[in-house]
Symmetry: C2
Subunit: 287 residues, 2 copies
């Protein structure tokens, strides 16, 4: 997905929000803002939004001298999601279709996002989501691909959300699949890193790798131009690829391989691109 002019106010809002998480010093806020404004003048709209987001957050980190502005927010999200986990596990156990329920909950977990302007209440969404039908052709195709798959590549999105991912990974576990769970190498927004994945115990269910190992800056949404050889190997050859969140949709929706996107629509431009509405739970296959 390309970057729109409408993304610009959002990048600015995001950079201000991230800076305020680090310091209340208005001189620092202003300095970040001015450098972000300068950078945005040079923006190439042909790139997907995560390219600009990566740069904008690099500016925040450089000026605030804080490696991880969202550290506290990520910690809180993990605590919150970990508490929800037993109740969600029970919902899956008692449901008619445990795989579909786990998929729905994995999508709902994508509500834990501190990048988008829209904030959603995960707790109210959990019950609502189970009542909703997901009307599309992705599920039959997903079941077939999953059944045939030996290898699964799962692109994670946010901290907290990873506990929701864990529920879905546990549905794969009895099927004896070789699962690779992909996080970011470096802090970017509230995206999950290896620390978060280990915190959720995902390393006992899957091999955990970072998409961009060896790089010093990550982007929210995997950019195939800056991924590790190991990641690319998996991405090109694994039988089933699942991508969580808007960032990955934005950066991978034009890539030529089958990807199952699981996300909550939080941005009007993503909504427009997907022919969906803000607030929609998306389970979609792209080929």
């Amino acid at each position: 997905m390309k970057t729109y002019l409408d993304c610009i106010p959002c990048f600015i809002r995001q950079s201000l929000e991230a800076t305020r998480m680090v310091t209340m010093d208005e001189a620092v806020h202003t300095q970040v803002m001015k450098e972000v404004l300068r950078y945005l003048q040079t923006l190439s709209f042909d790139n997907p939004p995560p390219v600009a987001s990566k740069k904008v957050h690099a500016i925040v980190r450089k000026i605030t001298k804080c490696h991880d502005p969202y550290k506290n927010v990520k910690k809180q999200s993990n605590i919150m999601a970990e508490k929800l986990y037993p109740q969600l596990k029970e919902m899956i156990r008692t449901s008619n279709d445990s795989l579909l329920t786990a998929i729905k909950l994995a999508i709902v977990g994508n509500a834990i996002d501190f990048g988008s302007v829209m904030r959603f209440n995960v707790n109210t969404m959990i019950n609502d989501s189970l009542k909703k039908r997901i009307i599309n052709t992705a599920y039959p195709r997903f079941k077939k691909v999953l059944n045939d798959a030996k290898t699964i590549l799962y692109l994670a999105d946010n901290a907290g959300e990873i506990f929701f991912d864990k529920l879905l990974l546990e549905e794969f576990a009895p099927r004896n699949k070789e699962i690779t769970y992909v996080v970011k190498a470096n802090p970017i927004l509230n995206d999950a890193t290896i620390t978060d994945a280990k915190k959720a115990g995902i390393d006992s269910l899957a091999k955990v790798i970072s998409a961009d190992a060896g790089h010093t800056e990550s982007s929210p949404g995997i950019l195939l131009t800056t991924v590790s050889k190991e990641f690319l190997e998996h991405f090109n050859h694994d039988d089933l690829v699942i991508a969580k969140g808007q960032g990955n949709y934005e950066s991978l929706n034009n890539v030529k391989r089958e990807i199952f996107f699981l996300l909550l629509v939080k941005c009007p431009l993503v909504a427009q691109d997907m022919d969906a509405k803000v607030g929609d739970l998306i389970f979609r296959v792209q080929k």
Copy 2:
């Protein structure tokens, strides 16, 4: 009121919206955006937001080569408000306190605004407003000042809204006051100009002047640094000054003279500054 860093995304959104009213050419949108970003780097936060807004819309006009991007929007607002007028007049006629009802409706008319990010439905607000009590000390003071006043200065805000102002001016008319109604000399956002005031027939109730006659660019919110001598004479000496809208609050809230502000809060920063909430109907006196 000073300009906040949070105003920046709003200026950008506004400039993009105004540009899109003129042309669908994305190259023009991008050109406007880049020049607005360049300007915003030089922003002085000590000035009230209307200073920046004036400059941002001047950029839009220059690049789009359109003198009045909101022309159509203003026309539609006038048509809509003119249609509502008889019904509003009747509401005032049948109310217990016609002056207070007219004040409330003048505030509700401030919902007709194409500058703010929040959009309000005037029709639903009309009935709601009459049910609401306006809890403050402004009204008793207003009645006293109005009673004693020989001269009234009324600072208008938007097109469409001026029909709501007319209702309040008509409440003043039987009291034999010398009323001066102030609009903008040049198009800025959807702010009313002399054409709109005449369209609403306000020139038969008041002397209509523009605050910034002789200047080639207007600002949403009267800046005392760029007003005409005639305006300043009225502002300094008239017995009662009424100022409509957020823009005038932002530019005049620190001026040392008694002003009655009538506005709908549409921006979280104005809300914070006023210790109010977005959506609040404000009738407040400043001394």
